[in-house]
Amino acid sequence: MMLKSLTLLAALTLAPAAHAIEYRSVVPAQSRIGFEFEQMGVKIPGHFRRFTAQMAFDPAKPQSAQATLEIDLASIDAGSPEADEESAGKLWFNRTAFPKARFVSSQVRALGNNRFELRGTLMLKGKARPMVIPVSFVPGKTTAFFDGSFVLKRLDFGIGEGMWADVETVANEVTVKFRIAATGK
């Protein structure tokens, strides 16, 4: 709530004299960051309950869009209480040392038909890796949605080390699926 009003405040004070709609306020309640991984050939869905996002997106000027996302790794639902607990450990997120995941955009390219390519850096467990993320823009009356999904390799970030590095049991590929809702001015 606090955060929401803060971002709203920021949006109000920072918004330039409105010409086109620029989406600046993320609506956490309507946003979702989920993922899916395979364990012994069984798909396990999960998601993060808490994250904060800052963004600026003007459909008329996509190339100047920006996005920053910070995920609180303690808010994970990894499919079961045992898995949630396990994910905090040194072999997985090592959450005491690295409590958050962070994405910072560097470039946005329009692909046409309200589809965009978002490039940026994902920082996870002390490792920064470049990412290319396809995003669909779904305009709405007051709220617009930014939907996308991409595959990341957990071992690129050292997620699941030691005995868990065996990708036969827990697959290396993790599909991240998100929907970010934002309102504009």
Partner: protein, 176 residues
């Protein structure tokens, strides 16, 4: 009338018995392990074996509904006859209910079953943690009931065979 079960019934009986003999200790062992890749693998193997039992007991029940088991000896006391029918009936029920509660529990806990890593089975109920707990307890309770009945079943067969010197083990395909 033959005093032996037919070949398909004998094969199914021993296949099911053998798989339960593996699945049961595996279930006890794996559920006490700390989370590790080994634990995840054993859970999968347990589920695959259990679903195989469900399939085989389905076939066995079809066999039973379409065949009469070999007659019991005429001089067997009446109460033993009744007890034998009751125990066999309960064994069929439990061998159905044990894997079914396992499947239901896995569904409720949010872990789909993919038979031998190849055939995805539908989840029988929506994910629900509390229901998963209840079904887990049911799976455990029915398992120990099954264990008790299996012991009774084996002891009775051995008693008829060795103590009363009746050819009981031959009924289920053992010996000549």
């Amino acid at each position: 009338m033959s005093l032996r079960y037919t070949a398909p019934a004998v094969v199914l009986h021993w296949l099911i018995a053998g798989l339960i003999f593996i699945a049961f200790p595996l279930g006890v062992y794996m559920s006490d392990l700390p989370l590790s890749p080994t634990r995840l693998q054993l859970y999968s193997y347990h589920k695959w074996i259990g679903i195989s039992v469900l399939l085989l007991v389905g076939l066995r029940i079809v066999w039973r509904l379409t065949h009469r088991p070999p007659a019991l000896p005429d001089d067997l006391p009446r109460w033993q006859r009744a007890a034998s029918h009751a125990v066999h009936g309960l064994l069929y029920l439990l061998i159905l209910a044990v894997p079914l509660t396992g499947w239901l529990m896995s569904s409720a806990k949010g872990f789909q079953t993919v038979w031998f890593g190849v055939l995805p089975l539908p989840d029988l109920v929506e994910k629900n943690r509390e229901l998963g707990q209840v079904l887990g307890n049911a799976h455990q309770f029915l398992n120990y009931l099954l264990l008790a009945l299996v012991i009774l079943h084996v002891v009775a067969a051995l008693k008829h065979h060795f103590h009363e010197r009746r050819p009981f083990l031959q009924r289920m395909g053992l010996g000549k």
